[in-house]
């Protein structure tokens, strides 16, 4: 088990390194950058002092160096003008747009993103398992057909649109408030019980919207898994020897069908994170989604880079956890028979 964890950790580090290079490349792709644009703008306005400050920033972050060196300095593999100070050392860079460190700008958004995604993940599992159990055991009934149909619709409706419509009706029918993750009064306040309560109320719509597509896919796959298992002789044996139907379902076939289910988190997670970025934009949730869009539009490179890396780390760590859970669940994988 320890060997497996170590091996996975090494692969994870390597993946993250490649992803960081990819992210940096993508961010550097558009011509020009924030500071050069700003400098030419300031120059045309004749503000010499600000120009000097911007040029100082360029030197401070080594933006006058070749791209490869810039990348290495950003990651923290090469000493920059201020020594080793990159992502690896916990320095997330400077947001030029806000003129503050990225860490300060992003702040709460990081763990709110985490909360939203975790809530969606839990929602998918809590909803998908019972529905899949029902629809697999009641195959061919009206309920099964209904679930399948709803599943298809869940796959096909664009999440952002659903968000918009649900937002409107949740407010009209249930009085759930619109947009954001907590009431506006709580913005910038310290975290109190009231604020957490407000957060929970606001989480309902986003969780539903982000989770829905994933739930539909999960139900489909889980149902197929279960149907495969239910057709196997050991299930027949369990029933034939007189096990009560519920136990005959939950004790053997259900456990077997859970295996691919956990493996599926790997497919699910990137989609959930993608969905949460999109839905956050529509619902104006204070997660990293809107910050990312803005940073990309203004070429605020360290900010955009950091958020993209954060999203990637979130997914990759999620994948690691799902792999480890799978190993814990299934001795065949734990023994390294890959």
């Amino acid at each position: 088990m320890i060997g497996l964890v170590a091996r996975r950790l090494v692969t994870m580090a390597a993946s993250l390194l490649v992803i960081s290079a990819l992210v940096f490349l993508v961010i550097k792709l558009p011509p020009g950058d924030f500071l050069t644009n700003r400098i030419s703008e300031l120059r045309s306005m004749g503000e010499a002092a600000s120009v000097a400050k911007a040029e100082l920033l360029i030197r401070q972050y080594g933006l006058d160096r070749p791209v490869i060196e810039q990348y290495l300095i950003w990651v923290g593999l090469m000493p920059g003008p201020a020594g080793f100070s990159g992502l690896l050392q916990g320095d997330w860079g400077w947001s030029f747009e806000y003129d503050r460190p990225v860490a300060e700008v992003v702040g709460d958004a990081l763990w709110l993103t985490l909360v939203v995604n975790l809530a969606a993940l839990v929602f998918v599992h809590v909803v998908a398992i019972p529905i899949a159990l029902y629809s697999a055991t009641h195959r061919g009934t009206f309920g099964d057909a209904l679930v399948t149909l709803l599943g298809y619709v869940g796959l096909a409706v664009p999440g952002f649109l659903l968000a918009l419509i649900l937002l409107f009706y949740a407010n009209r029918w249930f009085g759930l408030s619109i947009g954001g993750l907590y009431d506006a009064d709580f913005a910038g306040q310290p975290w109190t019980l009231d604020k957490v309560h407000s957060l929970l109320g606001h989480l309902v719509v986003p969780t539903l919207v982000i989770g829905l597509g994933g739930t539909a896919a999960m139900i489909r796959r889980m149902r197929a898994n279960l149907l495969d298992e239910l057709a196997k002789p050991y299930t027949v044996t369990a029933r034939a020897k007189g096990l009560p139907p519920t136990r005959a379902l939950l004790k053997y076939p259900f456990r077997m069908s859970l295996n691919p289910f956990f493996a599926d988190i790997g497919n699910l997670l990137p989609h959930l994170v993608s969905g949460s970025v999109l839905v956050s934009l529509v619902l104006s949730l204070p997660t990293v989604g809107p910050l990312l869009l803005e940073a990309l539009k203004t070429q605020d490179q360290f900010m955009a880079g950091f958020i993209l890396m954060f999203v990637a780390v979130l997914t990759i760590v999620g994948l690691l956890i799902s792999d480890l859970m799978l190993a814990w669940l299934d001795p065949r994988i734990r023994m390294g028979a890959r």
């Binding site: 664009p158 419509i165 970025v277 999109l278």
Partner: protein, 394 residues
């Protein structure tokens, strides 16, 4: 897939010790041996076709998609108005109902004209239907001039608004542009972008999956890692980043190609994985070994035995990838990072409905969702049907 014929007649009692069928034995009647004689001689593609036709939902979806794609070359003819034609006196006009009967009398398809009313108090427009004056529609008529594909001038339309009247079957947007016409024009872009994006990812998937499966070893390991990495990155943030990288001074058409490329660039890992695993599995098949033993060249083996066998699977996987592309374009355009206004796609149309006012006051602006939904569902059903049919011997 074959109905298993009853091989022995169930005899309850008085069963003879040794039963011999008195009917004359015909060795060429394959059915007697438990398999379909036609199935032995039919080609794989034929079997796939036959199995596909049995999947009713998939066939219906194929027909729906065929109809949708058939509108692409005839967009200008089908749409009652040109996509950017503005009607200043009909901003945010609600859908004009299509009627057949006026005061109990059959009149053929007609609409009632609007009368716009502007409420000074609430700053809202309201439209009142004038139920006394039915205006019959005109068919196959000379209407508003257009340029077919931006080139050939013409003015023939399938449906035209009544003489001097308006025809907004699905309402109008904030500039008074007919939504139905815009949805029809948008179909051209949205439907093509899915196909073009998949074509790109198909080529990439074939290439990477092909070299991984063919060379094996180090190449395989490298491609596998690459696939894992690309798959583990959430698509949307990367799409956002790449579309933000498209220079803003590009023409709308160049942006269209750029977006297609971006959608295709990130979607290939799934296909590459399918190609690789199929190639590895097929390489070990007996018929490949047989062909090699009979002296077939690698070229012959690949072209004649491998490709036909995994192509059907690939087409099924690609079909299932198209809806992702269409939804991706819709999402990007919705966020304002995709296609830009002179180009009309379903995503661009939805971008205009991106506020609560639209949901509350002008709900018809959300109608472009319907074609998105229909297309995505149809592709999903079609893909499922193809996937089942791709393995005719199963």
């Amino acid at each position: 897939m074959q109905e298993t014929p009853k091989q022995e007649t169930p005899v309850q009692d008085a069963r003879p010790r040794h039963f011999v069928d008195t009917a004359p034995f015909d060795p060429t009647a394959g059915a007697a041996h438990g398999h379909d004689a036609a199935a032995d001689t039919a080609s794989a593609w034929r079997l796939i076709g036959r199995k596909f036709l049995r999947h009713r939902l998939a066939v219906a979806s194929a027909i729906v998609l065929a109809l949708l794609y058939a509108t692409i070359p005839a967009v200008e003819f089908l749409a009652p108005y040109e996509q950017n034609k503005r009607h200043g006196d009909a901003l945010y006009a609600p859908p004009q109902g299509l009627h057949l009967f006026h005061e109990g009398r059959f009149l053929g398809p007609f609409v009632y004209p609007y009368r716009a009313h502007f409420d000074i108090e609430s700053f809202q427009r309201s439209y009142i239907l004038d139920k006394s004056r039915p205006e019959p529609l005109r068919f196959l008529c000379r209407g508003e001039p257009y340029r077919y594909f931006g080139l050939i001038p013409g003015d023939l339309h399938l449906i035209c608004p009544p003489e001097g009247g308006t025809l907004f079957l699905l309402g109008t947007d904030k500039l008074g542009r007919d939504l139905l016409s815009r949805i029809i024009y948008g179909a051209r872009i949205s439907l093509v972008i899915g196909l073009a994006g998949v074509a790109i990812s198909f080529v990439l998937g074939l290439f990477f999956g092909g070299i991984a499966g063919y060379f094996g070893g180090l190449t395989d390991a490298a491609v596998q890692r690459l696939i894992e990495i690309v798959r583990s990155v959430p698509e949307l943030p990367l799409w956002l980043a790449l579309s933000a990288a498209l220079p803003p001074n590009w023409s709308p058409l160049a942006i269209f190609f750029g977006i297609t490329l971006i959608l295709g660039l990130l979607d290939w890992p799934g296909l590459a994985r399918a190609v690789r695993s199929k190639l590895l599995a097929l390489r070990e098949e007996d018929f490949v070994a047989a062909a090699e033993l009979m002296g077939a060249s690698p070229r012959h083996v690949i072209l004649r035995h491998l490709i036909p066998n995994f192509m059907s699977h690939l087409i099924a996987s690609a079909t299932l990838a198209i809806p992702t592309m269409i939804l991706g374009e819709t999402a990007l355009s919705f966020l304002g990072l995709g296609l830009r206004p002179p180009v009309t796609s379903w995503g661009v149309l939805l971008n205009e409905a991106q506020n609560l006012a639209a949901v509350q006051l002008y709900p018809w602006l959300l109608l472009p969702t319907v074609p998105v939904l229909v297309t995505v569902l149809a592709y999903n059903f079609l893909g499922d049907g193809l996937r089942d049919a791709a393995d005719p011997y199963h």
